[in-house]
């Protein structure tokens, strides 16, 4: 299939990927006080890899995000989330009480900043997991079966 695409599509897709990924990070960063967040950012990030696979074929897409990597990142993101929760607990707060990350007797300003970073941290964890899960879902569904031909190649 990769040979059948017109050069315009191939050129545009290749150039669009970094911008899609940058936009995903933008959406992630603004999730705390606006529409967006880890889920949305993760799906957008995964879409850049899906775009590669659609335009350049299953193999090229899988090379951009090998199974080894996506299988590693998927639980890692959840672990980041859970670890931040447990860190709050170790700092003397309740599970996921981000403001406690600033320390026992921090100023209100520091607590506010800690809350901010805690939220961004768990959103980043969500984004990692969502990206990896979406990529895995796409490639598992599209995997060419030995007897059926699959999506392409």
């Amino acid at each position: 299939m990769s040979d059948a695409q017109s050069p315009v599509i191939r050129y545009v897709a290749r150039r669009a990927v970094p911008f899609i990924q940058l936009y995903a990070l933008y959406v992630l960063g603004h999730g705390e006080d606006g529409p967006g967040g880890g889920f949305q950012g993760g799906v957008i990030f995964a879409s850049s890899i899906v775009l590669l696979a659609l335009v350049f074929g299953y193999g090229a897409g899988r090379k951009a995000c090998p199974e080894r990597i996506s299988d590693f990142i998927s639980p890692l993101g959840c672990l980041v989330y859970a670890s931040i929760g447990l860190l709050c607990l170790l700092m003397g707060g309740m599970f996921l009480e981000y403001a406690r990350l600033a320390g026992p007797d921090a100023s209100d300003h520091a607590k506010h900043a800690a809350h901010h970073f805690g939220l961004i941290g768990i959103e980043a964890g969500v984004m990692l997991t969502v990206t990896a899960s979406m990529v895995t879902l796409f490639f598992e569904m599209a995997r060419p079966a030995p007897d059926e031909g699959g999506l392409d190649e």
Binding site: F39, L137, E140, M141, A145
Partner: protein
Amino acid sequence: MSDVLRHLGTHYHYVIYIALMLIGLFAVLAKGNLIKKVIGLNVLQTAVFLFYISIGRKADGTAPVLWDQKPETIPYENPVPHVLMLTAIVVGVSITAVALALIIRIKRAYGTMEESEILVLDESDQQGSA
């Protein structure tokens, strides 16, 4: 009678969600193709999402974001059902993913996605082992 009609007119979202729900349930129960059942399940779940979103609706409501005005002076949509549905949509996607993964493996193991044919094959398996 006119009361009922007026009630339906103001509560048309119930009619829509119940209709969608029944369409979904029908597909899950009556279709023999495993993929069509999953599609029915998705329609069923979407009906519930729409129901939740509709109960958070407020006439002329805006996004529930704190502007400079006091929040009580402007009507805003209830954000809680939206948040709940965000979670439920993710759950729905996970279930669809597991279902499709199972269907792929069923297709490889049985060579078919039709429920009736799978049951026949199961039957012959049991006779073979007995």
